[in-house]
């Protein structure tokens, strides 16, 4: 087997990695909808999904089945080819961009072949990400155009103008990080953020380096929210003005594909924010003897979550929930036990911190959506061109000055 693996590394190593990542990604996309509905519901003092499974945990499955079995309507006079192309383009581009994201520092071996914890590690990883994101406009614009209907056309026009405008600010806001790291490689950008101020404050790009990128991060995240067409910048699909914007005429699974594309790009943006500004997979605790206990945080977190689920689950309302929730709790507990094994502890450190930060950003996404009202269209354009873009250019100038001055 090892010999076969060394001859065909793509078949044995890359392909299984892609399949596993795709499965994990699609599952997390489904549960991201559940997460969003729950968080928004609690922000608005509601319960959110509750009926399908305990705490609505099977709701994504029910939604998926519903999308699959709905009638697929194609509007009369639609441009068939482009109408079918648009959702495929959206979803495939959104999913492809995950391929360059590194999830951890450690290499693991598959049949004697060492391989990084990412699909690929490119020298121009960041540029590739931006290239893929910039192509994402087509899905929206073409969907709006090909539906042969007024509201989608207006939604498509709006969002293509919006996405071009905010892409400028998005790209410029990252230049500061690139200047400090001196590379486009995402792994190297993370590695450049190692070390601590005064022994405890991590030197992540947000607060470290010659010039803290706090401004850069705020600009990046604002522009990224606009780039993914999320509230409060979701003018492409403003219900009160445009029915549903560019996907008004889409039904069934094609609509679901737009939905999944949106959530997938949310995940990409959260990963990117983590990598660029929050130290990627780096732990917030120094690697010193005094902080040796920090190695057991993943195991402790899983054990606590498992215990809470078991105690809460056995008193749940329905019989089904009384079985499912404790079983989930036991699974988490078993994972916690696995995590304190010597080899595994080191390996899970990176992915654990990385995913924790990503989940935090996803929460912020939903939080923003639940809190802020939608902008007016002229406000949106003015905000992008007159505030975000000049500020991001200012950030580039200040950062490059700081780098030049400190290198003297």
């Amino acid at each position: 087997m090892n010999e076969f693996a060394s001859q065909h590394p793509i078949l044995v190593v890359a392909l299984p990695k892609i399949v596993v990542l795709l499965l994990v990604l699609l599952t997390s996309l489904a549960y991201l909808t559940w997460f969003e509905r729950k968080v928004v519901a609690h922000i608005q003092s509601r319960w959110g999904p509750y009926r399908v499974g305990p705490h609505g945990l099977l709701q994504p499955l029910a939604d998926g089945v519903k999308f699959l079995f709905k009638e697929d309507v194609t509007p009369a006079g639609a441009d068939k080819f482009v109408y079918f192309l648009a959702p495929f383009l959206s979803l495939s581009l959104a999913i492809t961009s995950i391929a360059v994201i590194p999830f951890g520092p450690k290499e693991f071996t598959v049949f004697g072949q060492p391989t990084p914890l990412a699909i690929t590690n490119l020298n121009i990883g960041l540029l590739v990400l931006f290239a893929i994101t910039s192509m994402g406009v087509y899905g929206v614009a073409l969907a709006g155009w090909s539906s042969n209907s007024k509201y989608p056309l207006l939604g498509g026009l709006r969002s293509s103008a919006q996405m071009i405008s905010y892409e400028l600010a998005l790209t410029m806001s990252v230049v500061g990080v690139i200047l400090m790291a001196g590379t486009f490689n995402l792994s190297e950008i993370v590695m450049s953020q190692q070390g601590f101020h005064w022994g405890f404050l991590p030197r992540w790009n947000l607060i470290g380096g010659p010039m803290p990128q706090l401004l850069g991060f705020l600009l990046f995240f604002t522009a990224a929210v606009a780039e993914t067409n999320r509230a409060p910048f979701d003018l492409a699909e403003a219900e009160s003005e445009l029915v549903a914007g560019f996907h008004t005429e889409y039904a069934s699974f094609k609509f679901a594909m737009f939905f999944m594309a949106e959530y997938s790009s949310m995940i990409t943006v959260s990963c990117l924010a983590t990598i660029l500004f929050f130290g990627g997979w780096l732990s917030p605790f120094p690697q010193t003897a005094a902080f040796a206990w920090a190695h057991y945080i993943p195991a402790a977190a899983f054990a606590l979550a498992g215990l809470a689920l078991i105690f809460y689950g056995i008193r749940y309302l329905t019989m089904f929930g009384r079985v499912v929730l404790p079983v989930l709790g036991v699974v988490l507990g078993a994972l916690a036990l696995l995590f304190i094994r010597p080899g595994v502890t080191e390996f899970v450190q990176g992915p654990f911190w990385f995913l924790l930060k990503v989940v935090f950003f996803l929460f912020v996404y939903v939080w923003v959506r639940g809190t802020l009202p939608r902008l007016r269209y002229d406000q949106l354009m003015g905000f992008g061109w007159k505030l975000l873009l000049p500020l991001s250019i200012l950030n580039v100038v200040i950062t490059s000055l700081a780098i030049v001055l400190t290198q003297r």
């Binding site: 441009d79 080819f81 482009v82 192309l85 020298n123 121009i124 540029l127 590739v128 931006f130 290239a131 994101t133 910039s134 192509m135 406009v137 087509y138 614009a141 073409l142 709006g144 155009w145 056309l153 498509g156 026009l157 293509s160 103008a161 996405m163 071009i164 892409e167 790209t171 001196g182 486009f184």
Partner: protein, 166 residues
């Protein structure tokens, strides 16, 4: 056939098919989509040639900005299918085959004349080298392009502004 040549042939076929489709399609949106196919396959060819940065810039600027502008304008003007005017029979039955032959001949002679240019050993050009060259030797033209963009920006604003708005 090495894998590189196979990849090259696939990308080249995509590029040529896109360019032909640009000519044959009647609707401007379909032509624009064909051109995007050409640009993406050219980006793949740049990667094959070891020019990573140029490949990324090709997709970001051409695919993500210029062609989006085209699609945007087509949607904005609600451009319909192209009318066919003034295409003579002569052009269709004599001109097109002759043109294709001429094209292939030019390509053949260029290929023959440059066949002595052997590709050097595989070496990926780093973005750092490219930027060093750009900001050391070509810094003046680089700065000039920023003026060019500024002027283009002003020009587009002046042209597209409605006269009756103020």
């Amino acid at each position: 056939m090495t894998p590189q040549i196979a990849v090259f042939l696939v990308l080249a076929a995509m590029a040529v098919a896109g360019a032909v489709s640009l000519i044959l399609q009647r609707h401007p949106i379909h032509s624009a989509l064909s051109l995007i196919v050409v640009m993406v396959s050219l980006a793949g060819l740049y990667l094959l040639l070891g020019a990573e940065f140029i490949a990324a810039v090709q997709i970001i600027v051409y695919g993500g900005a210029i062609m989006v502008l085209f699609v945007f304008v087509i949607m904005l003007l609600n451009a319909g299918e192209e009318e066919r005017t003034n295409v003579s029979r002569m052009a269709r039955f004599v001109g097109v085959p002759l043109g294709v032959m001429f094209l292939l001949e030019v390509a053949y002679w260029i290929a023959r004349a440059t066949s002595h240019l052997a590709p050097p050993a595989a070496q990926l050009v780093s973005t750092r080298d490219l930027s060093t060259l750009l900001f050391r030797e070509y810094v003046f033209p680089f700065e000039l392009t920023s003026f060019l963009i500024l002027i283009a920006l002003l020009g587009a604003l002046v042209l597209a502004r409605r006269e009756d708005s103020d």
